[in-house]
Structures are given as structure tokens and as C-alpha cells.
């Protein structure tokens, strides 16, 4: 039944693409995020649906996009091209060629799509449509996670998000980070959306979705999510009119909420400060140290999944007090092939210093460009430009949350984030073109009056 549902849905989606080719681009974004072929049991997972839709999106753009002369290639797209080329190089020289090929198999698609996507975003409505589809696709996972958390309280590695699979957005820590990162975008769509113009239904759904997103870190008990929420709050308050009132209310809500949180959640969040006694956290620090040493020996990077060669031994220190006697237990834990658990170290270990520098340039460039756009349009009184500064802020906030969350999760190549970057580039190039169009004037002929005799 579910197979038929997905098949019918996708068929309708693609039919829309034959009328408006940009819909193919949205269909690929949908497939990349929701991965319906993995949610279905037999029909869709038998065909390379992702490849077919990508080809349709590309052909649709090349053959049927009437105004593709409006597309611009931004410097950050060149950086993505360089990153793609460099990843191809490190894959060819990888320490673990087979494992590297495995990851390369999906990374190149994410990068190619991120390079291609901004070319198609040359209309305001297209930018909004992509933002909406990204949010609604993430919503399909967030809503189920939110409801399950409310019903059962969730648990680390227990909460199942549609799919019992630790890949894509279906992994708890990744979804915790992404769910919080999209909240600024949800707020923007609630206020400036034109596909679903702001009304009471949009407000109710948006508020419910934000609540569901906030519940994801509770349900998955991923510490990253809590850190992301801690970053989200000051970001949202940055431009709020009554920021001190909202800050006070936020603290109040946090205090009131704590007793209602599952005990397992508060216990796990307590390990953020006591990382020495917790194996997951302390081996993570040891892996980062290993990666730094590895990168010094292999500055060009070890290729994808180079972490497989690490062997970590950590001393876990647990202090307990009993009748004024403090006892310290030291136990040793050993792990082999421990993943990076940090996007920064993932880039450093796999792509070396050069790859990390490119990756950072892409992200820092995004933060700077969005700040420039925000400043340029924040004081405009033109009613047609009111949506711009808030969107730039939302995209920037989402990226900051991702960059903080990815300190603790290895999501350097997460396709969803590359779509966010592509949206930033699309917005930036769109505005640059519109400014140029507005400033352009044909050279007028100087009219000369014939001299009277």
C-alpha cells in the first residue's frame, strides 16, 4: 500500500515537471531528502529513481528553461567544483579504496546537485519553493519523531524515524541538528510565504512543526540537538524587537519544561559536562586527537572513511563520593575504527588541510554573503523587497546551527546542507542580477535640434 502511495505521489510530482520543468528539480530534492525508494518495499527501490529524476531535472533546465540566460555561476559554486575534484582525487588515493568508493558514490551526487541547483534558482518563487519543499520533506521525519517522543519519551538509539536506518536524515543526531537548523526557515515561510500565504492554518502548522522539531533532540536524546537549541535561541533573539522579554520567557519555559523531560534525557544531557566518564564522548575526543596526528602525517587526507584505521584507547575517569570518601575509578576502553563524530575532523582526516580549507571557505563565504545581503536589504522600504533580509538571516542562522552541530556530528557532506548552501547562492545571484537589471539604462541618444538658419 505504501509502495503504491509513493509511486502515485512521485508520478504526479513528475507529471508536474512536464508542465513546469523546475518541478523536476524539486522532485530530486524530495527524493534526496525523503528517499522514498528506501521507504518502499519493492516498486520504487527496484529502479534508480534518483538518477532518473536528476537526469530529468538537468534536461528540463537545459532544454525547457526559457530564461536560463538569467543563471549566474557564483564563486562558491567554483569552490564546490574544486571540492568535488579534490574529493575525486583523494578517493583515487584513499587508504581504504573500497570504503572510499562507497561514500564517494553519494557524495559526488550531493556536490553536483549543489553546483547545479543555484543555476535553476533565478526566480524569487523558485527560491521560496525549494525552501518550502526542503522544510516539508524534513517535516515528514520531524512530525513522526515529535509525535513518538510525546507518546513514549523516545530514547537514545530507540526512536525510529520512519526508517530503521542510520543514514541520511534518518539518523538521530543528524536529524536533531537539521531539525533545529530548519526552524529559522520555517519561521520565514510562516511570515513571507506566498505558496502558502500567512493565515491561521499556516501559523498553526508552522508552530506545531517547530514544536515537533524541538522535540527531536529530546526523542533521539542526541546531545548535539541540545547544543543546537542553545545556539538557536540567541540567534532568534538577535533581531527580535523585545529580545529581553523573549529571553526571559525562554528561560521560564526551559525551567518549567525540565520536570516534564524524560529522566533518561536529563541524565544523558548531564554527560555533556562529564565527558570523561562517558565512553561515547571520551573516545570522541581521543579520535579528534588521533585525526590531528594523522593529518600531520597525511596532509593531503586519507580519502573517505580513513577513520577505519584508528585504534583508540581511553582512560575513563569516574568519580564518586560516599561518606565523605571520594573514590576515583579508572577504566580503560578500546575502540577500533571509531568514526570522526565531527564534520571538521571528518574533513581534516579524509580531505586533508586543503579539503578542510575549501569546505570552510564555502561555509564562511555563505555566512559573510548572507550578512551582506541582510545589511543591504534590512532597511528597504520597498514592499517587494521585504522578504529578502529575513530570508538571508534565516539561511545564515540555519547554517550557524549546522556549523555548531557539526562540531559533534560527521555531516560534512550531508546533502540537505548542500541544498541550503545552494539556496544561499541562488538568493545571492538572483539579487545581484536584479540589482544589475534595475541599475541598467540604455545609452540614450542625445537629441540634437537642427540649427535654424
Amino acid at each position: 500500500m505504501r509502495d503504491l502511495f509513493f509511486l502515485g505521489f512521485l508520478a504526479c510530482f513528475l507529471l508536474g515537471g512536464f508542465k513546469r520543468p523546475f518541478i523536476f528539480v524539486l522532485a530530486y530534492a524530495y527524493i534526496d531528502i525523503v528517499a522514498p525508494q528506501r521507504l518502499s518495499y519493492f516498486l520504487l527501490n527496484a529502479v534508480p529513481v534518483s538518477l532518473i529524476v536528476f537526469a530529468l531535472a538537468m534536461l528540463g533546465y537545459l532544454l525547457a528553461d526559457q530564461e536560463k540566460t538569467h543563471s549566474r555561476f557564483a564563486p562558491r559554486q567554483w569552490l564546490l567544483v574544486i571540492l568535488l575534484g579534490y574529493c575525486a582525487y583523494t578517493t583515487s588515493t584513499a587508504d581504504f579504496p573500497l570504503a572510499a568508493q562507497d561514500k564517494w558514490g553519494w557524495v559526488w551526487k550531493a556536490l553536483i546537485f549543489a553546483i547545479f541547483l543555484p543555476l535553476t534558482l533565478h526566480k524569487k518563487l523558485r527560491i521560496e519553493a525549494l525552501a518550502l519543499i526542503m522544510v516539508l520533506c524534513a517535516a515528514s521525519i520531524a512530525i513522526t519523531g515529535g509525535i513518538k517522543t510525546l507518546a513514549s519519551g523516545g530514547g537514545y538509539g530507540v526512536l525510529q524515524l520512519l526508517l530503521d536506518d542510520n543514514s541520511g536524515l534518518y539518523e538521530g543526531s543528524i536529524m536533531s541538528c537539521i531539525a533545529i537548523a530548519i526552524i529559522p526557515l520555517i519561521l520565514w515561510l510562516m511570515k513571507h510565504g506566498t505558496i502558502f500565504p500567512p493565515d491561521w492554518r499556516v501559523k498553526i502548522f508552522g508552530a506545531g512543526l517547530i514544536f515537533a522539531c524541538l522535540l527531536i533532540p529530546v526523542g533521539t536524546q542526541a546531545r548535539t540537538g541540545l547544543v543546537c537549541i542553545a545556539v538557536l535561541v540567541p540567534l532568534l533573539l538577535r533581531f527580535a524587537k523585545y529580545r529581553f522579554v523573549y529571553a526571559g520567557l525562554t528561560v521560564l519555559v526551559a525551567i518549567v519544561t525540565i520536570p516534564f523531560l524524560p529522566q533518561s534525557f536529563t541524565q544523558r544531557m548531564g554527560t555533556i559536562t562529564d565527558y570523561k566518564a562517558e565512553q561515547s564522548a571520551s573516545t570522541r575526543v581521543a579520535v579528534w586527537a588521533w585525526t590531528w596526528e594523522y593529518a600531520k602525517d597525511n596532509p593531503l587526507g586519507g580519502g573517505f572513511n580513513a577513520f577505519l584505521q584508528n585504534k583508540i584507547t581511553v582512560d575513563m575517569v569516574e568519580t564518586s563520593e560516599n561518606d565523605s570518601i571520594t573514590s576515583v575509578d579508572v577504566t580503560q576502553a578500546e575502540e577500533i575504527g571509531r568514526a570522526y563524530h565531527s564534520s571538521y575532523f571528518e574533513m581534516l582526516g579524509e580531505q586533508g588541510f586543503f579539503g578542510l580549507a575549501i569546505w570552510l571557505a564555502i561555509h564562511v563565504g555563505g555566512l559573510i554573503r548572507m550578512e551582506m545581503v541582510r545589511r543591504r536589504y534590512s532597511h528597504t522600504i520597498n514592499p517587494g523587497e521585504q522578504w529578502i533580509a529575513p530570508l538571508a538571516t534565516a539561511l545564515q542562522n540555519g547554517q550557524i546551527i549546522y556549523l555548531v552541530g557539526s562540531l559533534f556530528v560527521g555531516i560534512a557532506f550531508q546533502p540537505f546542507i548542500y541544498m541550503l548552501i545552494a539556496t544561499q547562492i541562488g538568493l545571492d545571484t538572483y539579487l545581484a542580477r536584479r540589482r544589475a537589471e534595475a541599475a541598467w539604462r540604455p545609452i540614450r541618444k542625445v537629441r540634437t535640434v537642427p540649427a535654424k538658419a
Binding site: E67, L125, A129, L132, C137, S140, I143, N382
Partner: protein, 61 residues
């Protein structure tokens, strides 16, 4: 049950969004922006700035 509900609501909204997008002309075509009063291009347009006098700078010989 919960999964199906979540899929139904999100996919329902995506379907409505696509349906609305198909009928929107501005998905593929936008009108040219209003020309800048001073045609600078690289600086933010200041709506408070007085537009140049019509015909200023053009001299009839």
C-alpha cells in the same frame, strides 16, 4: 500509524504546493525590476534620495 499520518500530512502539503506552483506564472517569468532612480547598481537604493530631475544631464544642443 504515526508514520503514515506524518507521511500523509507532509506529502499532502507538498502535493498542494506543487499544484499551486504549476499555476503560478512567476515560477518561470518575472517582470523586470523597477529601474533605480539614480542607476547606481552597486549601492543600496535609497528610497529617501531625491530622484534626479527628468532630463538632467541630457543637453539639447
Amino acid at each position: 500509524m504515526v508514520d503514515n499520518f506524518s507521511l500523509l500530512i507532509s506529502h499532502g502539503l507538498i502535493a498542494i504546493a506543487i499544484w499551486r506552483l504549476i499555476s503560478r506564472d512567476d515560477l518561470d517569468h518575472e517582470d523586470a525590476p523597477e529601474p533605480d532612480a539614480d542607476a547606481i547598481g552597486f549601492h543600496p537604493r535609497s528610497p529617501l534620495r531625491k530622484p534626479p530631475r527628468r532630463g538632467a544631464g541630457i543637453t539639447d544642443a
